[in-house]
């Protein structure tokens, strides 16, 4: 049985093919170092300059065992905040679903230019993870404080404005109920195209429209003594603060809020979100220095 060592034409092509494949693989492996720009427009953002806020803290406060409004304190924000001008739209979110990185929604919006609604904290987090991967820059949910900062003059202070009669806890329940009932009566819950509720002084749109927004702030419960000194604090990271026409605690997996305890409250109309872009070390350098660095 003779064996021929003469290279055949098919043999040559195979070897060449293998070499090319190896090259392509090397290129692919190298690719994550510099990712191509995503095939969709980057989210429009607004830069909210540093400021000192008079901020009503998040959380449920009690003083001497009775519920009170959370204290309003001075908060210094030292870095500019980069935040999406618009809430994430249904079309934006659909790309994440197509990519297999976000879960399908129970009732997708009929139009892409509507804000995405019916999303849970988990859904919003999935989207942030995907967008971060696609753009190579970190996107995340804002904290309650950041959201308030971006909301600017559109922020709704949801203090009841009175500390109820110490002997009658029902006054607060009735006041809450009344406030929520008035809000509901005055608003149409049907989502409108992004931008419909207009921009604030920072160019951030639709703050306190009819879509409430998830934050990454966990629900806190703070006990204070009669003098206002904090005596205890608990935090529950299964429940997050949602911001909008009022602040509401919301369990992380809820997509469509219903009423509160024993169902006597009025829930947010819709749940959506917008993200902040985490500023990299490079963003923090003075502009002149930044220009000297390679792109």
């Amino acid at each position: 049985m003779a064996t021929t060592l003469r290279p055949t034409l098919p043999g040559l092509t195979t070897s060449l093919g293998l070499m090319l494949l190896a090259g392509a693989a090397a290129l692919l492996l190298a690719a994550p170092v510099r990712r191509p720009a995503p095939a969709f427009p980057l989210p429009q953002t607004a830069i909210v300059p540093p400021a000192t806020l008079l901020h009503r803290l998040d959380g449920e406060y009690s003083r001497a065992g009775r519920p009170v409004d959370a204290p309003r304190v001075t908060v210094r924000i030292t870095q500019p905040l980069e935040i999406m001008r618009y809430q994430v739209s249904a079309a934006d979110y659909a790309r994440c679903i197509t990519a297999g990185a976000c879960k399908r929604l129970d009732s997708p919006a009929p139009r892409g230019d509507l804000p995405v609604t019916g999303v849970s904290h988990a859904d919003a987090s999935d989207y942030a993870t995907w967008l971060t991967r696609e753009t190579g820059t970190v996107w995340r949910l804002p904290t309650d404080r950041e959201w308030a900062h971006a909301a600017g003059s559109r922020l709704v202070d949801d203090a009841r404005g009175f500390d109820a009669d110490a002997n009658n806890p029902a006054q607060r329940w009735l006041a809450d109920y009344e406030r929520e009932a008035n809000r509901k009566a005055a608003s149409d819950p049907a989502p409108r195209p992004v931008g419909s509720f207009g921009a604030n002084e920072h160019g951030v749109h639709d703050i306190a429209g009819n879509v409430w927004e998830w934050t990454q702030t966990c629900l806190r419960r703070v006990s204070q003594d009669a003098a206002g000194r904090t005596t205890g604090e608990t935090s529950n990271c299964g429940i997050y603060v949602v911001e909008g026409q009022h602040r509401a605690p919301m369990t992380f997996f809820i997509r469509n809020p219903k009423s509160g305890g024993c169902s006597v409250g009025t829930p947010p109309d819709n749940l959506g979100f917008r993200l902040v872009r985490e500023r990299s070390w490079r963003d923090r350098l003075p502009a002149g220095l930044n220009r000297l660095l390679p792109a």
Partner: protein, 381 residues
């Protein structure tokens, strides 16, 4: 058998002997007066007798409110005239904008609560609006004969009919539309309401003590069956006729898509929450013309409850939840003792919180620490 005999004997009592009994002991009056009253209302009046009766014409109001009425009747029996116009109309069932065709007595789901006294005559003018597509009628569970009046009240669009019947039984009763071949469709399209036939001397606690209410609310619970398309979305139809086949299919699943109070999810909440004050006594009349329900007042009770709604039976006391079978109305009397927000629900809580069968009471007044006090506010362990 023995009971029947006893009833017969009591019916033979003359008015004079009852009065003599009254002088002897109060207890006998209580025992004997009910059948005696039954006898009085069962007495057949001639057309001339009825013609002589005073006539009143209360103006019906939309639920949950109830037209002005006396709790204790002054004077003898009357002819009480009501007029209701039937409207077929599209209604929105929830905040998501789900639509359905409702068939309504007087334009509302449920139809208005009528109030008369035992021995009164109800004279109803029923108008089927010209704009409607279907024939309708009315079956009063409180009336006697002709399928509750249904057989004598079939009206086509653009027609009217007048029916008179005698209120011989005390209690709250359902009325509903019952057109041949289409009864459940009409009833589950909201075409039902209730009538309250009060004892002439007012409500009693079962031991002779009079019961009065400061307010009365009428809650009509309704199960709806809205068809869905292939994607699970609720369908809409251009006309009543087009919806019929799909709706019947949805009905046959016996799984309602909505169970609501007063025609819409949240109809008795927020700006339209029911109100009361601490110390006020409220009578809640609750009807469900098609399906069982189990009302419950979260944070309160039923002080006196006629779950099946018939006032000749003694009320049950201190109930937590009461059962009203489908096709029945019930009544519960409660005096509010604490301020706050109360949820009034069908205590199948899935029906209450997922399908809509919940309303709210807003109650103002002084808090009673003796009844309840928070000793330690929630704090870290």
């Amino acid at each position: 058998m023995g009971q029947g005999l006893k009833m017969g004997e009591e019916l033979k009592l003359t008015r004079r002997s009852i009065l003599a009994g009254a002088a002897a002991t109060g207890a006998i009056v209580q025992a004997a007066s009910a059948p005696a009253q039954a006898q009085a209302v069962m007495t057949k009046a001639s057309a001339t007798d009825i013609a002589k009766l005073p006539r009143v014409k209360p103006k019906l109001v939309d639920p949950p409110f109830v037209h002005a009425h006396e709790q204790v009747a002054t004077g003898g029996p009357k002819v009480v005239e009501f007029t209701m116009t039937i409207h077929e109309k599209k209604i929105v069932l929830d905040d998501a904008g789900t639509e359905t065709y409702a068939f309504t007595f007087n334009g509302t789901v449920p139809g208005p609560l009528m109030v008369v006294h035992e021995g009164d005559y109800v004279e109803l003018t029923l108008i089927n609006a010209e704009t409607n597509e279907l024939m309708h009628n009315i079956d009063f569970h409180s009336s006697t004969g002709a399928l509750g009046g249904g057989g004598l009240t079939e009206v086509n669009p653009g027609e009217k009919v007048v029916l008179r019947w005698k209120a011989t039984r005390q209690g709250v009763f359902v009325y509903h539309c019952a057109p041949p071949g289409m009864v459940p469709w009409h009833v589950t399209a909201g075409m039902n309401g209730a009538i309250m036939v009060l004892p002439r001397d007012g409500l009693k606690d079962g031991q002779g003590k009079a019961l009065k209410y400061d307010k009365v609310y009428y809650v009509g619970e309704q199960d709806f069956y809205v068809p869905r398309d292939a994607n699970g979305k609720f369908k809409r139809y251009a006309s009543v006729g087009e919806s019929h086949e799909d709706v019947v299919k949805a009905m046959r699943t016996l799984t309602p898509t909505h169970v609501v109070f007063n025609g819409k999810v949240g109809a008795l909440t927020g700006k339209n929450a029911l109100t009361a004050k601490v110390g006020e006594t409220v009578l809640i009349v609750h009807s469900q013309a098609n399906r069982d329900t189990r009302p419950h007042l979260i944070g309160g009770h039923g002080d006196y409850v006629w779950a099946t709604g018939k006032f000749r039976n003694p009320p049950e006391r201190d109930l937590e939840t009461w059962f009203i079978p489908g096709g029945c109305a019930g009544a519960a009397l409660y005096t509010f003792l604490q301020p706050g927000i109360y949820a009034y629900v069908n205590h199948n809580l899935i029906e209450a919180f997922e399908l809509g069968a919940a309303g709210h009471f807003k109650v103002e007044g002084e808090w009673n620490d003796d009844l309840m006090k928070q000793i330690l506010a929630p704090a870290g362990i």
